[in-house]
Every structure is written in structure tokens, then in C-alpha cells.
């Protein structure tokens, strides 16, 4: 019983680490793209400067995601929050890209 419990903590921590590391990176990239579109005001004429803005803010987003993942009640909720954020951002970006086509 103790073995299983120890394993559970280990697995839970491992999940959080993976979600924070990879999920955070993916979300930081997606957020950077969204911020680029946001600061440009539109998705057609994106100035290079807006991309720079997106890039610079992405690191803060990454840090925030990592801290968030380690402050949720369970590893499961962390995974759900991050995955859904990634999916939503990806959907929004795809929609915008398709709309400007």
C-alpha cells in the first residue's frame, strides 16, 4: 500500500513536470502568436515589431504557466487547464488564419 502511495506522488509530480515543461512551452508559443495578432490589431498586416512584442511576453507566460501547474490542487486539473488553454488558443489562431485566407 505504501509503495503504491509513493508511486502516486511520484507519478503526480512527473505529470506536473511534463505538463509544465512541454505544455508550458507550447502554450507560450501560442500565446506569443496571439499577442502578436493582438498588438497588431489585425492578422493580415503584422509588423515585425508586433512579433517582437509577442516573443518578449512569451517568457512571462511560460513562467506563469509553470508556477500555475505547480499550484493547482491536483496534477489532473493542471493537465486539463493547460491542455484546454492550448487547444482553445490553437483553435482561435486557426480560425484567424483561415479567416484572413
Amino acid at each position: 500500500m505504501l509503495l503504491l502511495k509513493n508511486n502516486r506522488v511520484f507519478i503526480s509530480t512527473l505529470i506536473r513536470v511534463l505538463v509544465a515543461l512541454f505544455g508550458g512551452f507550447i502554450f507560450a508559443n501560442l500565446a506569443a502568436i496571439l499577442i502578436t495578432y493582438l498588438s497588431a490589431g489585425n492578422a493580415v498586416n503584422v509588423a515585425v515589431d508586433d512579433i517582437v512584442t509577442g516573443l518578449m511576453v512569451s517568457f512571462l507566460v511560460y513562467a506563469a504557466v509553470v508556477i500555475f501547474v505547480f499550484s493547482t490542487k491536483s496534477a489532473l486539473s493542471a493537465t486539463l487547464y493547460v491542455t484546454s488553454s492550448c487547444l482553445v488558443s490553437f483553435a482561435v489562431i486557426s480560425y484567424i488564419d483561415r479567416a484572413i485566407q
Binding site: A28, N29, A32, I33, T36, S39, V46, A47, V48, D49, D50, I51, V52, T53, G54, L55, M56, S58, F59, Y62, A63, V66, I67, F70, S71
Partner: protein, 541 residues
Amino acid sequence: MKGRFRQSMNWLHTWTGFIFGWLLYFIFVTGSTGYFENEIDRWMKPEMTIVNQHIDEYKVLASAEKYLNTLAYNSPEWYISFPAAREPFIGISWLQLADKETNTPREWRAKNLDPINGSSTDVRETGGGRTLYRMHYNLHYVPQVVGYILVSLATMLMLIGLITGVIIHKKIFTEFFTFRSKKGLRAWLDIHNIFSVLPLPFHLMITYSGLLLLMGISMSTVIDTTYGEGKSNHKRFYKEAHSDIKEKKFINLSPENLSLKTVLEDAHNRYKDQRVSYVGLKDRGTKNEHYDIWFDAFEGIESASAVEYRIKDKKVEIEISLGKSGNAASVYDFFEHLHEGLFANTYLRWLYFISGLLGAGMIATGMILWTLKRKKNAEKQQKAKFIALIERVNIGIIIGVPIAIAAYFWSNRLIPVSMATRSDWEVHSLFITLIACVCFCLTRPIKEVWTNMLWLAASVYILLPVLNVFTTEHNIISSVKNSDWLMLGFDLSMLFFGACFAIAAMIIKRKKANAIPIIQSTSLAESCELPPSSLIKEKVV
């Protein structure tokens, strides 16, 4: 649930600090040396003649041009550097193009010119201070991209370490100045707090700006999706992102007269108070051929003043850089300048350097705390052995990196000047020494590791100026006489660092003589059977 949140942040702080602790320590120490890159360069190239008298810039320009015409006749970029505050040399440099027939690679070449007779001096080939500090983001022995990504990842973890550190430090204001030096583990925690909190603005700035400087590579997928994929697209992106607002105007100079000499004359007339540091001739031989002038010792954080001279519509036009054209680019520029600290005068430069070393100290004390906390809880034999191993590697890295850097300087004097790959071997000796230090620590009983390493560090640093005396014609007295402040500053600083290591070694010896058991003293073999943990009674927050 404040308690649970704090606990999680504590866990996060410990492990983000631990994973890349040694790499980050190396980055901080080598990066800090970068603030004295010019001084290190001067010491590592002792043959260079310094200029401390007034020179006729046009005469220098003429002899420089003569050399460039012979040595670099088919080079597309020429530079002539005049004496500046921290680089009191006359130098020429040019881009040598690749030539398959003579098997010459594409690389930058430079020569130092003597101020009195204008001839070139033979300077030993060395990586110099530049290679040393560039290691903090390029690393070494790995492809540049790998280095960038590793350093970016480490920096990201560093940022998270800093943020979580602030979150978990409940008493950040009340314990601002606190250092309980006699209380064992608590003392280490206090010193870790002092090294972290007092230079906190610096740490946050240097970490975030470090991330920004590498953002083109770490977040390259963003550029791929929003701008375009591939190397040429990325290059175009950088060029556009860093484009300047330029003021252009035509000047009263006929295109036939446009040469290095007239460009220098015009720059002097236009900016009478500023000292010219570089004159450059770029895209030589093409129709885009233009001249660049840079000025020395700009006090502000804003972009360096640079003026370009080119021929346009059969007239001479000048372009003055007024700053970056994009708002975000200006912010990036601002962070870049803060990180590099090129604007800093002597006072700020030393504070940059000290803050960098405090950051390295923060990481070092963090690593030591990690091992100390686990040492008292290690019950199983396997774990205790592992902790003892980490403890020794810690000391090997913490004192070993400074020793390795000193070895880099030693090798500069000891490797024969005629050896072809000497600059590579200087760097090899740095890493060989580092590995040797770690291996040495693994063989020592824990009681003696600290003092052994500290005395070793003290001797290699204090003997550096002595080595200087025996291997070159420079010594402290002659540096004062010749006003060779860079050389003098380096020699004196080495003595100072050596003295610091010696004092630290003596303090530890005195502490041990007073028999206050600050750290559990066990050798590697004894660590299997641990004495009662009652030796360390403090409860750590």
C-alpha cells in the same frame, strides 16, 4: 490553501535550482568576467602597445590604410580602431574571405599598430576575454544552437527559481540584512537570502534580458509561423526587427573626395566633443560601398551613436542612427544594453561584476543548502553516498570554476607563442583544470576539501602577477610608470581575488580550530554510518 501553495513553491524552487545549478554557476561566473572583457584582453595580449599619449589621428589613418591595402586588398570590410577609454590601442581589422586555393577560411583578422612608428606588432594568438565571456551563452565544444537552447532552458529555470524564491521568502523585508553567522544551516540560508535579495533587481534584469537575447532561437517557431521559415527568412526578420530610425541628409562633400580621411574630418567637425572610436569601410568595391563612424564612451543606455557616409544620387549623404524604429524593438534594445552594460563607467562596471558574482554565490549557496538539508535526512547507505558525492562535486565546481579561469590565464602565458592552435589549447586547459578540480575533490576527505581548494585558488590567483613578471616585460611597477591601467588593474585584481580566497581558507581553519561543528565532518567512507543528527538542531523554514 497558503501552506500547500508555499510548499509547492518550495519544492519547485529547490528542483529548478538544482537541475541546472552547476551550469548556471558556470554561466554567471564566465558572464561576470565579460564586464572586464577589455581588461582581460589587454592582459592576454601583452605585446599590444598601449596609447597613452596624444596621437595624430590622420597619420595613424594613413599608415593603417597602407597596411590594409597590402594585407586586405580584396576584403569587403575594413575597420580602423582608434584609442578609446577601455581600449587604448590602434588596430586594424578586416574580413578575410574564404579562398579555396590557398585553403584560407572566412574569418576576421586583426592587427595591432604601434602608435609611434605605425608598424604592426605581432600579438600572440589568443581567445582573450572575448572567448571567456562568450562561453556563458555559447558554451563550448557543442554546436552553437545546442549551447543557445541549453542556456535558454537554464535561464528559464533560473527565472522560475527567482520568482518562487521571492514567493517562499516570507520574511523578505524583516530579514533583509540578517546574517546569523554562527548558526550552521541557518547561516547558509541567511547568506543565500542575502546574495539573492540584495541584488534582486540585477538578478531579475539579467535573467529576463538573457532570455530576450536568445529569444530568436528559443522561440523560433513563433517567427516561423508569423513571419516565415528558413534561415534566410529569419535573417530578414532580425534585420527588420533591429532596424533604426535614421536621419538622412546630404552634406557638403564631393563624391570624388569621399575617403577614410575626409569621412574622419567631417565626423570631427560635426561632433567636436566626441571621440571617434572606429572608422569602417563596408561593402568595399561594390556600389553599396559606405563608411561608418562610431564614437566612444557614450554615457546613456540609448544606442551607440553611429554615422554612415554613402554616395547617393551623385552626392554624399550621411545617416545618423536615432534609435530603433519599433516600440518593442526599443524595449528589447533597452534590455540588451542593460544586460551587456557597455554603457557603464568604472563604478557601475564593478557593481555589475560584483552583482554577477553575488548571483554566482546565490547559486553556489543554494547547491550547498541542497546537500546540507539532505545530509541529515539521508538514512540509506546508497543515498548518503550519493549526497556525499554531490557535496564534493559542488565544491569542485564552486571553487573549480575560478581556478579553471585562472588556468586559462596561466595557459595564456605558458603555451608557446609560436604554437598554431594555442587559442584552442587555452580553452582546453580551462576545462581540463575544471575536470581535474572535480576529480580532486572526489578523492579528499570532507574535512579538508574546502581548505585544500581555497588554498589552491589563492595560490593560482596570487601567483598570476608573478607569472606576468617572469613571462613578459610587464610588471606592476612598470604598468604604473607607463600608465598601463588595464594591465595594472588586472594584476591588482588577481592579487585581490587570491587574497579573498586565502582569507576564506584562514577563516575556515580558525572555525575548525574553535571546534564549532558547523558542518558535519565525515569522510566519504564514514558517511555510511551517520552520527546523530542532533548536531544540527536548527529548524529550517
